[in-house]
Amino acid sequence: MIKNGVTIDQTFAEAFPMRATRIIITAQNAKWALIAATAMTGFATSVIACGCEAGIEREMAPEETPDGRPGVAVLLFAMGGKTLAKQVETRAGQCVLTAPTTALFSGLHDGDPIALGKNLRFFGDGYQISKKIGGRRYWRVPVMDGEFLTEETTGMVSAIGGGNFLILAESQSQALAACEAAIEAMRKIPHVIMPFPGGVVRSGSKVGSKYKALNASTNDAFCPTLKGQTQTELSPEIESVMEIVIDGLTQEDIQKAMRVGIEAVCALGAPAGIRRISAGNYGGKLGPFLFHLQEIMA
């Protein structure tokens, strides 16, 4: 399949099951909601070493949030429920409870409840106050800037992590420009995050390593400087490859995000130095969810 001079490989992205939740952070203004959300989703690019993958789903207008203040929706993904619960609690405690004027709400009421402010309330040292409003329990925790309001639990649902596609370009700057265009389009899609810095990964990995201690190592088949040294996937004109990884609540969400992302890349096309779109897969060994590029773009 070729779109605007860009070849879309007949291959698939391979993704795996995760557990996810959505959290809404509100604050006095959008600036502080965003600061808290950015802190909460920091160091959350990959479950390999961060414990969870997290990102800002979107900013929310005051009329969309539970307390009528500007807010930010955050999605967090982990490999299991216990890990997710631990990550949510730790990050909420260190990054949101501490951030001036913030309040914390569940953005998902389906699925299994996990603690949000349930244990953070003990920071109140006995002065915390419970309020059950509209069937949901909230905690008012006295803090130095006033009161920290948090919902007791949030919902945890099954989700999918690791959807991806690779952008193969004639130069590093062209690959990055294409990624930026894709990310801008993909950020408009609900229920997904692109957890890596700026949504882009330059160090895509393969499973395994020559070093026994490592589970993953550089994806040498897509490293342009190794074209003559390894079993390469790259043609001579490719000088740079970048990857976009997508975590989403459902298969459809990831498909939709991949489609708009690839469309944005293809819109730049061959004149902008974009030659191919491919995807990371491990022959079906990694996960049960396969996203075939050509089917998505059909």
């Binding site: 009528g68 002065y127 309020k131 409003i133 909230y138 008012r140 006033g146």
Partner: protein, 272 residues
């Protein structure tokens, strides 16, 4: 099917316990069985059809008509369904209620919503003493659900209240929220004396300054509290001006007490 409508044939000389006239008790009965259902009146038991004329068949919606002010225990322990009282109601309305909805066009007597667990009660008139309270000798009052009174209420509302919300558009009597363990009482009108007497926890949110703050409550200053807009927004299901008052009411003067007890209750007075 139309609502099961029970119209009193003549004014009652004495009080009538209608606790058995809920959807839970009537759902498995046909209309003939409902008409012959025995109701306790004084020391006698009288078939329902001797007291009420019966129309309609659907017990998930029960309508009481006529001089209904002596009907006690309406909606007692109900878990679902709708009960509509087109006039006044007697005592113990919605006592032990666990779900469903009761709407009263008129006023009610004492002990409305006492020991209520869940559900919604809407009263267009006034309510008597001990609204949402515990029965005498008991220590657990209202523990869930919501009660909205458009008129005024009597004394000792929310006595021993543990959870849920009482919303009063009018005035209240003395001892509002006395011995409260938790829950929320919102009052738009004036309040009586001995506010929050022996209150352990819970919230009294007042739109108007009370005539006095008890000496056993401490002034914690004026604050903007984020939970108040959330709380008032949850009252959107009611025909109340509260949701529109969120901006004004979220800034409050906070008093905590009662220092004679646990002292973790609060009186929040809207800052003017």
């Amino acid at each position: 099917m139309s609502a099961l409508t029970l119209t009193l044939k003549s004014p009652l000389a004495q009080r009538l316990d209608v606790s058995s006239l809920t959807f839970d008790h009537l759902k498995d009965l046909d209309i003939a069985a409902i008409k012959t259902k025995l109701l306790p009146l004084g020391n006698r038991s009288i078939p329902l059809q001797e007291l009420f004329s019966v129309e309609g068949q659907d017990p998930s919606e029960i309508v009481f008509r006529g001089k209904t002010h002596k009907l006690d225990k309406i909606g007692h322990g109900m878990t679902s369904g709708l009960i509509l009282i087109e006039g006044d109601a007697g005592s113990y309305l919605g006592m032990h209620m666990k779900g469903g909805e009761i709407r009263v066009k008129g006023s009610i007597d004492a002990y409305g919503a006492c020991e209520m667990r869940n559900g919604l009660i809407l009263i267009e008139g006034d309510a008597g003493d001990f609204l949402g309270a515990a029965l005498p000798g008991n220590k657990k009052g209202m523990a869930g659900g919501m009660v909205h009174v458009k008129g005024s209420i009597g004394a000792r509302a929310g006595d021993h209240m543990r959870r849920g919300a009482l919303i009063v558009d009018g005035d209240t009597g003395d001892y509002l929220g006395a011995r409260m363990t938790a829950g929320t009482i919102v009052v738009l009108g004036r309040t009586g004396r001995y506010l929050g007497f022996a209150m352990g926890r819970g919230t009294l949110l007042l739109a108007q300054p009370p005539q006095e703050i008890p000496p056993t409550f401490e002034d914690c200053g004026t604050h903007t509290l984020g939970f108040i807009p959330l709380l008032l927004k949850s009252f959107e299901v009611l025909n109340s001006p509260l949701p529109q008052m969120a901006e004004r009411m979220k800034r409050v003067r906070r008093y905590t007490g009662d220092a004679c007890g646990l002292g973790k209750g609060e009186i929040l007075v809207a800052a003017t």
